[in-house]
């Protein structure tokens, strides 16, 4: 690779930055109607939950085809969710998730 990816990194910035900046710099975004503000307040939980679920439930094979995945990661993520929901302690949830997945994989439960 030896420096070739520097150019690719710059190009990746060029295609990523607009989506990061558009909402922040577009005029009028702070004067949206209440329904739009309410909608945007729900985006966080929806997109972060979808991101987590897709990460552990969908894998893309070498052929580029996505497929449903069942594995020990489900348990780790669910336990983390339960800990955060019950005790509001994300750090404890993350530690529990890592331990569960590490132990599960050591026991051969790779999914």
């Amino acid at each position: 690779m030896n420096g070739n990816l520097v150019v690719l990194a710059i190009l990746m910035f060029a295609v990523t930055y607009p989506s990061r900046a558009l909402g922040l710099v577009t005029p009028g975004m702070d004067r949206l109607p209440k329904i739009a503000i309410d909608y945007l307040q729900l985006v966080g939980p929806a997109v972060l939950s979808a991101l987590a679920a897709v990460t552990v439930m969908v894998v893309v094979g070498d052929d580029g085809q996505p497929s449903f995945h069942v594995g020990i990661e489900w348990v780790g993520v669910f336990v983390c969710l339960a800990i955060v929901g019950r005790w509001r302690n994300l750090l404890l949830g993350l530690v529990a998730a890592v331990v569960i997945v590490a132990v599960g994989r050591a026991a051969g439960l790779s999914g």
């Binding site: 690719l8 909402g23 922040l24 975004m29 939980p45 997109v47 939950s49 897709v54 969908v58 449903f68």
Partner: protein
């Protein structure tokens, strides 16, 4: 090493960086990699639109600069912080985006380049589960009623189904777009909002033990409106 550092500093997009390396190794053309990167990062548009009302008072140039650091984690941490205190907080944003993410991410990238080869199979330590677990944990922290819960559950279901049909990047965006629409359909009287944004109970709900007491005197008033 310069490739990895450039990716982390300039692109600063974890999932896209990892995917790009895989694409390069697989021999994908650069235009194809850029299209996939744009698609994979399209969800940031939702983040920037969502966070904008909280940062509306800041000058345009500063918001434009802040945009580069708006990652999944920066969004989640900042929004949880803003909702907790009931207002936007530039210093809080930089704490999340720069101090807690950008700097550690780049230091970890360097460490990975230098030391990574000495770890034969990092996945056996279960480290990879931290990302989805953190995302679901941060999402749970944003839930204060049935609207958020509905948006999250529906967004998850749609996200996974679309991901299986059209790929993970499209699935995540679809879930993030459509989940809130269904969440909005929950009537206010059924929403059971336990901690309206900007209220004292919201600050209490999100704060860590001890923090609320310190902020109580000059904290947000009960019933204060979120930024509009």
């Amino acid at each position: 090493m310069i490739d990895a550092v450039a990716m982390s500093v300039i692109a600063f997009a974890g999932a896209a960086e990892l995917a790009a390396v895989g694409y390069v190794v697989a021999g994908l053309s650069w235009p194809a990699i850029l299209v996939l990167t744009a698609l994979l990062n399209a969800r940031h548009l939702l983040y920037s639109a969502t966070i904008r009302p909280w940062l509306a008072d800041l000058p345009l140039r500063r918001r434009a600069f802040m945009a580069h650091f708006l990652t999944d984690e920066a969004f989640a941490l900042s929004m949880a912080h803003f909702r907790r205190i009931g207002r936007g907080d530039e210093r809080g944003y930089w704490m999340a985006a720069l101090v807690m993410l950008f700097i550690p991410w780049n230091l970890a990238t360097l460490a990975g380049v230098v030391l990574g080869g000495q770890i034969p199979d990092p996945s056996r330590f279960g480290i990879d589960v931290i990302f989805p677990a953190a995302m679901i944990g941060l999402a749970a922290g944003m839930m204060t009623g049935r609207r958020e819960l509905t948006a999250a559950v529906v967004g998850t279901a749609i996200g996974v189904m679309v991901a299986l049909l059209a790929g993970p990047a499209i699935g995540i965006v679809a879930g993030g777009l459509l989940g809130p629409l269904v969440g909005l359909a929950v009537p206010t009287r059924l929403a059971h909002e336990t901690a309206p944004l900007g209220s004292v109970v919201s600050a209490e709900h999100y704060s860590t033990p001890g923090e609320f007491d310190e902020r109580d005197e000059d904290g947000p008033g009960d019933g204060a409106e979120p930024p509009r």
